[in-house]
C-alpha cells in the first residue's frame, strides 16, 4: 500500500510542477539563506577571533600565576624566571606549537613634546614575534624593528600617530615607571606605522625591542608573557577547543604557570556570540513558518482539486488514515525537494564564501569602522551540522504542515467527496 501511496503522491507532485516548484522555492531560498548566513556569521566570529590571535592575544599566553592575577595593571613584577626554558617545555608539552615569543607589556606616556598620551607598550623580540603575530604584515609605512638592534626604534599604531601628529622618522619621547620604580624617559625614532584591525593597537599601541626596552625600563626587565602560536583549525569551535586542550597540557607540565587559551581570552565575545546564535536561529523559525503556510496552502489546493479521487479511493476501501498518509507524503516530498534545493543553494553559497569571500578591506577602504576588527576578506565556514539541521527542519516542518490539510482530506465523507463539483 505504501508503494501505491508513494507512487500517487510522487506523480501528483510532478503533475503540479509549477505549484510544487513555487512552494519548494520558498523552502529552498529560506534554508539556503539560513545555511549561508550561519556560515557568514561563523566567518565573522572567525575573523574577530583571528584578529585577536594574530594581533593581540596569540593562540595561548603563558605567564606566572601571580602575573595573571595582577595583569590588569601591566606590572613589571612577577616575570618568568627562565623564559627560554619555559618555551622549550611548552613545545615539549604541546607538540602542535608552531612558534612562541617572549613579551613584556608596560604602561607609558608617549609625547611629541607638545602633547602626551597614555599608551600600552610592548617589549618584543622582533625576530621571534613575527612567527607568532602578524603585525609585520600590517605596516602602513616603514619597516619592522631590526632584530637585535640597540637603536631606539619604535613601531606605533596608525591612530596614535595621527593623534600625536607624528610620522615615519619622527621622534617620540616615552616615559614610564621602570622595574626599580623610578620614572625614566627616552627618545625613540618611529620606524614603522602599524595599520592593524585591532583598535587597542591602532589607538594606543607601541612596540619596541627588548634591548631598548631594557634601557628604558631597567636591565632586569622580565619577560612577563610568552605568546604561543598553534595551528589554525577548519572551524572556530575546533580551534577554541584545541587552545583549551593545549593550555591544560601546559598547566600540568609547568606547575605555578598559568596558560590563557584564546578560548578564555575571547570568553566575553563568545558569550555575546552565543546570544547572537540564539537570535539567528529565529531566522529559520520565521522561514519555516512561511514555508509551512505555503505547504498547507499547496496541499489544501491539492486536496480540493482531488476530492473525487479521494472519494474513489475511499469507496474502494482505503482507510481515512491512508488518505492522510497520501497527502502527508506529498507534503513530505515537496519539503524534501525544497530542503534539498536549500542544501544545494546553501552549499554553493558557502563554497563561494569559503573560496572567495567578501573583500571587506576593499569594500570598506577609507571607512573608519572603529572597533569592528575588519581585515582582509570575510570568509564563511563549513558547518555540516547546521546544513543537516536546516535540511531536516525543512523536511520535518513540511511534513507537519502537510498533516493539517491531510487530516481534512481524511475526514471527508465518501459521498460528499464523490459528488463534489
Amino acid at each position: 500500500m505504501t508503494r501505491v501511496l508513494a507512487s500517487i503522491a510522487f506523480r501528483n507532485v510532478l503533475r503540479h510542477g509549477k505549484r510544487t516548484l513555487i512552494t519548494a522555492l520558498v523552502l529552498t531560498v529560506g534554508i539556503g539563506m539560513f545555511i549561508f548566513f550561519d556560515s557568514i556569521l561563523a566567518g565573522m566570529d572567525r575573523m574577530t577571533i583571528d584578529s585577536m590571535v594574530d594581533y593581540t592575544e596569540s593562540s595561548m599566553r603563558v605567564m606566572t600565576a601571580e602575573y595573571q592575577k595582577n595583569s590588569r595593571g601591566y606590572p613589571l613584577d612577577y616575570g618568568i624566571d627562565s623564559p627560554e626554558s619555559v618555551m622549550r617545555r611548552i613545545a615539549e608539552a604541546v607538540p602542535e606549537v608552531i612558534a612562541s615569543t617572549p613579551r613584556a607589556s608596560f604602561v607609558a606616556y608617549a609625547s611629541n613634546r607638545i602633547d602626551s598620551v597614555p599608551v600600552i607598550g610592548t617589549a618584543i623580540d622582533p625576530a621571534r614575534d613575527k612567527g607568532v603575530f602578524k603585525l609585520a604584515e600590517h605596516l602602513a609605512a616603514g619597516t619592522w624593528l631590526a632584530p637585535d638592534s640597540s637603536e631606539n626604534e619604535i613601531l606605533v599604531g596608525k591612530g596614535l600617530a595621527k593623534d600625536l601628529g607624528v610620522g615615519l622618522g619622527d621622534w617620540l619621547v616615552l616615559s614610564a615607571r621602570a622595574v626599580d620604580d623610578t620614572l625614566n624617559a627616552d627618545e625613540f625614532r618611529i620606524v614603522g606605522i602599524l595599520d592593524v584591525p585591532a583598535q587597542e593597537i591602532s589607538q594606543s599601541g607601541i612596540f619596541i625591542g627588548f634591548g631598548p626596552a631594557r634601557t628604558l625600563l631597567g636591565e632586569n626587565l622580565p619577560v612577563t608573557t610568552i605568546a604561543v602560536s598553534l595551528p589554525k583549525s577548519a572551524t572556530l569551535d575546533e580551534e577554541l577547543s584545541a587552545s583549551m586542550k593545549a593550555a591544560a597540557s601546559v598547566r600540568s607540565a609547568l606547575p605555578g604557570m598559568e596558560a590563557i587559551p584564546i578560548a578564555d581570552a575571547a570568553k566575553d565575545y563568545m558569550a555575546m556570540r552565543n546570544m547572537k546564535a540564539k537570535y539567528s536561529s529565529l531566522i529559520i523559525l520565521v522561514v519555516l513558518l512561511i514555508a509551512g503556510v505555503g505547504i498547507v496552502n499547496t496541499i489544501l489546493m491539492s486536496v480540493y482539486s482531488r476530492i473525487k479521487e479521494i472519494g474513489v479511493l475511499r469507496a474502494y476501501g482505503m482507510l481515512p488514515g491512508q488518505i492522510k498518509r497520501l497527502f502527508s507524503l506529498e507534503g513530505l516530498m515537496i519539503g524534501f525537494i525544497g530542503s534539498l534545493g536549500g542544501l544545494i543553494l546553501g552549499g554553493i553559497l558557502v563554497w563561494w564564501s569559503v573560496r572567495w569571500g567578501f573583500p571587506l578591506d576593499k569594500m570598506f577602504s577609507g571607512l573608519d569602522l572603529g572597533a569592528i576588527p575588519i581585515g582582509g576578506a570575510l570568509h564563511g565556514e563549513w558547518h555540516p551540522s547546521t546544513m543537516l539541521a536546516g535540511f531536516l527542519f525543512g523536511v520535518i516542518a513540511s511534513w507537519i504542515s502537510a498533516r493539517i490539510p491531510a487530516k481534512k482530506a481524511a475526514k471527508l465523507e465518501v459521498t460528499d467527496a464523490l459528488h463534489f463539483v
Binding site: 501505491v4 476501501g317 465518501v414
Partner: protein
C-alpha cells in the same frame, strides 16, 4: 434468501430545520447474478440507495444484511473491509486517477486490498483489461482515452477484485448512445460470464430494456419492482 436484503431503509437529510426524506422505507432483496436497473426521475433516491447498498452512506433507519451480516452496525474499519472485498463501484464520470496509467488505475483496488504481489496484480489487471477490450491501452494515461474507453477502464477497475456486487451510478450518462449500448452489453456479458451482480441506476430507456430486473423509485419509495426473463 438473496445475498443482499434491505428492510425499511430510510434516509433523511437534515439541512438546518428542514428535513428531506431521500428514502422513505425501502424493502428490497437482491440475488446473486442479478442485472438490476434502478430507475426513476431525478431526486427519486436512486443514488442514495446505491450509496447505502455500497456502505458509502449510512441509513437513518432500517436494516441491511449482506450474506446474513447486519451492515448497519459495522464500524468504519469493517465497512471499509466490506467495500474492499465484496462490492465495487462504477461512476458516471469514471473518476479515474489521472496520474496513474490505465493498468495502474485497474490495480488500485488490488493494491488497497494488499493481498497480491506486484506481478500478480499486473497480470490480473491485464487479463481484465483484455476482457473489456482495451488491453492495448494498458500503458496509456486516462487523458489519452475517449469517454467510452475511460468507462471500460472503470469497469475493469470495478471487476478486477472479483466482487460479488457491482454498483453503477448512471454509468452511461456521459456517453453517446452507441458507446452507452456497448458498455451495457459489456456489463451484461460480464454478469453472465463472471456471475457478478450488477445494480445500476439509469434514466436511459434503452438501457432499462436490457435489465433483467427494474426497480422503479419515486420520492424515495419503490413504486414498481419488475423481473424479466432473458
Amino acid at each position: 434468501m438473496g445475498i443482499l436484503s434491505l428492510s425499511g431503509i430510510t434516509k433523511i437529510y437534515r439541512k438546518g430545520e428542514i428535513e428531506v426524506v431521500a428514502l422513505g422505507g425501502i424493502n428490497l432483496e437482491f440475488d446473486k447474478e442479478e442485472f438490476c436497473a434502478i430507475v426513476g426521475p431525478s431526486g427519486s433516491g436512486k443514488t442514495t440507495l446505491l450509496n447505502i447498498i455500497g456502505c458509502l452512506d449510512r441509513p437513518t433507519a432500517g436494516t441491511m444484511r449482506y450474506r446474513d451480516k447486519e451492515l448497519r452496525m459495522l464500524g468504519e474499519k469493517e465497512l471499509s473491509e466490506y467495500r474492499r472485498e465484496h462490492v465495487s463501484f462504477i461512476f458516471q464520470s469514471y473518476n479515474l486517477i489521472p496520474v496513474l496509467t490505465v493498468a495502474e488505475n485497474v490495480e488500485i483496488p488490488l493494491s488497497i486490498a494488499g493481498k497480491l504481489q506486484k506481478q500478480e496484480m499486473r497480470k490480473k489487471a491485464l487479463e481484465i483489461l483484455d476482457a473489456v477490450g482495451i488491453a492495448d491501452k494498458a500503458n496509456r494515461f486516462p487523458r489519452e482515452l475517449s469517454g467510452g474507453q475511460e468507462q471500460r477502464v472503470a469497469i475493469a477497475r470495478a471487476l478486477v477484485k472479483d466482487p460479488v456486487v457491482v454498483l453503477a451510478d448512471e454509468p452511461t450518462a456521459n456517453l453517446d448512445s452507441h458507446t452507452a449500448d456497448e458498455i451495457v452489453l459489456l456489463m451484461k456479458t460480464i454478469n453472465k460470464s463472471l456471475h457478478t451482480t450488477f445494480i445500476f441506476s439509469t434514466h436511459d430507456k434503452m438501457i432499462m430494456d436490457e435489465a433483467l430486473r427494474v426497480v422503479q423509485l419515486h420520492d424515495g419509495l419503490v413504486t414498481k419492482d419488475e423481473r424479466r426473463t432473458t
